[in-house]
Amino acid sequence: MRKLVLPVSIIAVILALVLLAPVLPLADVRAMDIPHRFAGPSMQHWLGQDEFGRDVLTRLIFGARASLSIAIGSALAAAVIGAALGLLGGYFRGLVEILTVRAAEVILCLPPLLLALLVVTILGAGFWPLILALTILYTPNYARIVYAATLQVRGLDYVTAQRALGTHPLKIVLRTLLPNVLPPLLVQISLVIASAIVIESGLSFLGLGVVPPTPSWGLMIRAARGAMEQAPMLLVWPSLALAGTILTFNLLCDRLQSVLDPRAVPAGGAIWLRRRKPAASPPRAVLAGEDPVNRRAVAGTPPAAGPGDLLAIDGLTIALRRAGGIGSGMELVRDVAISVRPGETLAIVGESGSGKTLTSLALTGLLPDVLEVTAGSAVYVARDGRRLDLLAEDEDGHRRLRGDEISMVFQDANAALNPVQRIGEQLSEVIRAHRPAGAAEAGREAVDLLRRVGIPDPDRRARAYPHELSGGQRQRAMIAIAVANRPKLLLADEPTTALDPTIQAQILALLSDLRRDSPEMGVVFVTHNLAVVAEIADRVAVMYAGELVEEGPVAEIFARPRHPYTAALIGSVPEGGAERLVAIPGTVPPPGKMPPGCRFAPRCDHAEKVCRQASPPEFRPQPDRRTRCLRFEEVT
């Protein structure tokens, strides 16, 4: 809301000036002083005098009255009518839609100026005909926008819920639909006000505007244009007022948009797309010989990673970066250490908000721009034997690895594939980005890959667009992209979550096949489904609220969890014949409100005073297992 302060206060000042104009110590708006026409600024007339010797400042302020009330009046009137038409048409559809939205669209076929011309000529120039003309002009816009928004909202469950409740349709339209189509409507209103001010000036210019001697900015511009040579400033003042006001309304509109729909404007755009000067990029952290895992800054047990690791993450901390913004520095992932050996499948499991996805994104430098790695290292052994700290790589360094040595499979293949690019092209693109292959060669290889991931009729599918494939096939194509360059490390982020059971089983089987084909490939499998973990992973890392709480071999952990959270998770799965499931009370604390001690303590049945005091260190109940619980010995 703070964003709105500037535009709203400017508009408030303008409106105050306009409303208070009659009581302000201004000159008479109609008083002519023809001998002093075109006089320059003076003490009596700050902005000079116009072609009739009238005070320009006064006319500017009174002109705002006409221009703004016409613009705001018509924008609001059109909003009310248009919204009513759009809501009714969008909710009831059918005949009502034809009579409302479609009928309003007839107006769009008429040239706007002709419409204004006809209305104003039929009714005579003046304030109200102008408002009417502009209202007619803008109504279809609103109707269209509200109609589109209504169509979106009417299918939502809370509208269905109202119908299921037996609420009267009109009440649903007014109470449920209207408030929810308001954001686009509000934005449109501020847009229309801006546009109406311009149109009013255009109509006044053509002599279709307000009737003199009432001033309006358009009339002032029209009069001044003729006298451009004699008194150019007369053109400047109303133009400035016009541009300034519209600028303010545009600003309001932009800000309103970002306040009503915060998702629409991410701060800072796309940092990764900006080309940085080569000198500015940090030197690549080649850590040959040195074992970074020994530099562990956080006190506690050493990480469970050895020299044979493909990847050793240590002390990974991810925080919100927002210069001076709220919550800057808030840690979303804290001090995570995991390692993956070649050929091993590591599952990272946790609920939403546990930081499991962020961890995998951090490895490839794909964190959202608002997040950054503030501490830690991730040593990766590349194909050529170099040891790279993935967290220290810059965008270019990451780009060389991504899709080649390290590749990713995302959760929602439907969203993750480019909807307007053919599957084959999306595949050959990744091949050609890392290998010197010709288009034809890459195309052939793409088809082979599709065949390899079990897509029937791969020749034809290569020419298909993602939406022409079924969900399972899309995920297969996504996997084909990931394995196209035979990666050393595959990061799979919830690859089966949105799929049906039989398709999920197929995809899991495919992943098993691929691992069998590439025995050296390490896999990090991010999921929230414990059962999937049991099926596919060698080792599992359980994350909670941004921290790693337990890690070890899958079979052992499922057989005997050594952290209350893991135990509760397993107990909450509705398998076995338990009458009641183990439900963990409460919810995961939001990142800004982490408890001081063990983060799970508030929801833990076994928490004691000591748990709430300090963050527990890692314990090793067994050589290859870790847990972050003070009381693991007693409670598990």
Binding site: T121, A227, E229
Partner: protein, 509 residues
């Protein structure tokens, strides 16, 4: 695909633009040899020879057509197709034709002329002078070069009709909107709404004329743009110089201005409605307005005050003693209002138009002054077409109007002050002026110059008294041109829109 295409096209366009800039202004603004580039204010709505289709159309008609008569640059009546004209002893006008040819090469005959008069005066004719021509009861053609017109009663003003640019002669049997005439230029090509191209007619009956090889008339509807085009060197001559630009053109030594006071602004009344059915109220209005301010505000000082009937002070019919008949005198105005029973003033509407800035500005100044004597005026400023209809139908109390008289003769004012004519937006609505009508009629049939002066002086006296209209100001009508344009003359007074006739003598130096 789209992106690439766009980029390529854009590059091509900008490259073209770049090379044009490089060529520089000379190639763009080079004067064309012997062809005058004329900036018109409007495209002729039609080429109907006899209909009143506006001043731009008038100019075009004066290029391609010639009538029996015309006005000389000094404003005097002169013969065109007619070599001589006189009233015979029976009171009929006899025109002797000269040896002229139509642009198709055939000779102009008396029969052609007779046919013109007959066609234009037909009941279903739309000729501007149809009413006047219908007073010609008979046209005789005793031989190929003699035309004799017989009128119901003798008419002193008949030759003036045939000098009107809305009464040119066309070849017998041609369509009324033919562009084939006997004038100095042939219309070669038109681009409707944009331009007209004329070339010299080598068979023109005046030897050595026209001096120009051709005329290219281009329409610039926007007055500012018209001036800009002249200043930019795109054209050689423009009509309707806007008043705000006159000084600028005068001061520019690359240009010259030829301006005369001719057209005038005035107020008309609705004589069918109170309070303007009362002459006292009308006269109060006449005294309430300070005309200098109209000249200053609406015409940038380009014109003169007009506090009597629009008879120019250079005219033989000018009456110096009546010149201040409606002089600015707010006290007198208030007194007249009080006498008429409106001591506290009243509310009314004033019709003008927003389409023409001068009409609107004039109305605004009038409104300001009328409010000072208690007449609260609400402006009604529709576009021109609606204004015309409202004027014709009397849908107003008070209206601002601007025009020229038909010619410099006081009879040319008939349209404006003769209340016996049918309702029209150019005159007051429903206002009976029996005395004025009587004087006008008398003037028309009087041939003696001195007697006519007396008649019209009496008429003006009555007009000042009864105030059928209120004269406001003369406005300057100007042509702007390059210094090398010679021979073009802005004709005096009401004849300014006849200036096109001098294009036959115009040359590019």
């Amino acid at each position: 695909m789209t992106m690439r295409l766009t980029r390529r096209t854009f590059l091509a366009t900008s490259a073209a633009a770049g090379s044009l800039t490089f060529l520089g202004p000379r190639s763009l603004h080079a004067a064309t040899n012997g062809t005058l580039r004329f900036g018109l204010s409007a495209y002729p709505p039609s080429f109907d020879a006899w209909a009143s289709s506006g001043t731009a159309a008038g100019t075009v008609k004066l290029l391609i057509h010639r009538g029996l008569m015309s006005f000389a640059p000094d404003g005097s009546l002169r013969g065109e197709l007619a070599e001589s004209w006189e009233v015979d002893d029976q009171g009929a006008w006899v025109f002797k034709l000269r040896d002229a040819t139509w642009q198709d090469g055939s000779p102009v005959t008396a029969e052609d002329i007779a046919w013109n008069v007959a066609e234009a005066s037909k009941p279903d004719s739309t000729a501007f002078l149809r009413g006047q021509l219908q007073t010609i009861t008979k046209v005789e053609t005793p031989d190929d070069t003699t035309v004799r017109m017989i009128t119901e009663e003798p008419s002193a003003v008949l030759p003036g009709w045939f000098a009107h640019y809305n009464m040119p002669m066309i070849k017998k049997g041609e369509a009324v909107d033919t562009t084939m005439g006997a004038g100095p230029f042939k219309l070669d090509a038109t681009d409707r709404g944009v331009s007209l191209t004329f070339s010299a007619f080598d068979g023109y009956y005046k030897k050595g004329l026209p001096k120009l090889a051709g005329v290219k008339a281009t329409v610039y509807a926007d007055e500012n743009l018209r001036v800009a085009a002249l200043q930019a060197g795109d054209i050689d001559l423009i009509e309707y110089v806007p008043w705000q630009a006159m000084e600028q053109i005068e001061q520019n030594d690359q240009l010259k201005l030829d301006a005369v006071d001719g057209p005038f602004m005035y107020l008309t009344f609705n004589g069918k409605r109170a309070p303007f059915d009362d002459p006292k109220v009308r006269r109060a209005v006449a005294h309430a307005i300070k005309r200098e301010d109209i000249v200053a505000a609406a015409f940038y000082g380009r014109g003169g005050t007009l506090a009597h009937l629009p008879i120019a002070d250079g005219s033989a019919f000018y009456n110096p003693d009546l010149a201040d008949g409606w002089a600015y005198d707010p006290d007198k105005a208030k007194q007249l209002l009080a006498e008429a029973g409106h001591p506290d003033g009243f509310d009314c509407t004033m019709l003008s138009t927003a389409q023409y800035g001068m009409h609107q500005s004039t109305a605004e100044v009038c409104q300001a002054y009328l409010s000072m004597v208690g007449i609260n005026v609400k402006l009604d400023l529709p576009e021109w077409s609606t204004r015309v209809q409202k004027g014709n139908q009397g849908d107003y109390d008070l209206a601002v109007m601007g025009t020229t008289a038909a010619n410099n003769d006081p009879d040319g004012l008939s349209d404006i002050i003769d209340g016996s004519l049918p309702a029209s937006f150019v005159r007051s609505y429903g206002l009976e002026t029996p005395e004025i009508s009587g004087y006008l009629k008398k003037g028309r049939t009087t041939f003696d110059e001195q007697k006519r002066k007396e008649i019209y002086a009496e008429m003006e006296k009555v007009a000042i008294e009864t105030t059928p209209i209120v004269g406001l100001c003369w406005r300057s009508q100007g042509y702007g041109m390059k210094p090398n344009v010679t021979g073009f003359t802005n004709m005096p007074g009401q004849l300014t829109f006849y200036s096109g006739v001098t294009l036959e003598e115009t040359a590019l130096g």
